[in-house]
Symmetry: C2
Subunit: 195 residues, 2 copies
């Protein structure tokens, strides 16, 4: 049951951090939500809140990548894959009452000037996302350098739109950003086929 407890802590942490941020979430709130005793938290995370935060970033970031990759895998091509990605994100954010968008963006911004271990965890997660998406663009025939630029731009559109959608309580920014990303990618693929 040990592994189960640790997973419940990480799962509850992920959800709370995503919605309220790192500083806005107390350890007591986490153990209550996870339904685990307080002592267990420090048994599994002797490094305290910071260690828990860093690990939660990696786990939540990894799950988000898995979800994204599953959507991209299920789509016939990269263009409709990216379109599905943004559409799915828009539906999720709506369905959660504009609470669930990026699992780590809030925490990443909060800690990037105050906790080096957590900042680094976020940086690694982001780099992983870049690499995943870059690889898919390369597979579609785009050069590695250009593919990385497209990946960074696509994910920037998504993350920025998440901020606006949560604050304005509207899925429109995510939808607009999705259309922009699709346009950018189609333009690139079009240039490719012209040669």
């Amino acid at each position: 049951m040990a592994a189960d407890t640790k997973e419940r802590i990480l799962s509850a942490s992920g959800e709370l951090f995503r919605r309220q941020g790192y500083e806005g979430t107390g350890l007591k709130q986490i153990v209550t939500a996870a339904n685990v005793p307080f002592g267990s938290l420090y048994h599994f995370f002797p490094g305290g809140k910071e260690q828990l935060g860093a690990q939660a970033i990696r786990v939540s970031g990894g799950q988000f990548a898995q979800l994204g990759n599953a959507i991209l895998d299920a789509s016939p091509d990269i263009v409709s894959g990216v379109r599905d990605l943004f559409t799915g994100a828009a539906r999720t954010i709506e369905a959660s009452g504009y609470a669930d968008a990026c699992p780590i963006a809030t925490v990443a911004l909060e800690v990037s000037s105050s906790s080096e271990p957590m900042r680094q965890a976020a940086a690694e997660v982001f780099e992983g996302w870049f690499a995943d998406l870059q690889q898919r663009f390369v597979a579609a025939g785009i050069s590695p350098d250009r593919a990385r630029e497209l990946a960074v731009a696509t994910l920037s559109l998504l993350e920025g739109a998440f901020i606006f959608s949560r604050a304005t309580r509207s899925a429109q920014p995510v939808e607009i950003a999705g259309a922009g990303a699709v346009q950018m990618i189609e333009l690139e693929l079009g240039r490719l086929s012209e040669r």
Copy 2:
């Protein structure tokens, strides 16, 4: 000297919130940084931290808009204006040790599910930014609807890239996002001139 004290509180709050977020910044830290007595804070902001936070969002958001508009005014056309906007942001983020990017994004994400007055303040600031940029695209001949989409997409690119740049300690995401925004706008203007 009253106005000066209030301004110093808002200025210090803006800087601290931008770097550490809302929950991560204590009132004691604010009054220390602003060099004002604790009592003054509650004299000017009887609504407490939440009122201060909402006002800081509006003030900081307004200043950021002013800065952006000044850059756009100084540029010969909208395309180089947007380019200068992203370049300036990239230099600022570098110069601050990857601390100073968007003045309200961190707070907006933190509070959008926990404080309605602050969420609303952030939403109004963002809508103001959208309207400012939309107007400039309209002035360049783009239709209002399409201009709004371009404004939302451009600012999404900027905000998303800010997250990545702060976390990875590299200005590259902002630079890539800037190139993407410029490309989008040029494409739109090109279509316009083809008719």
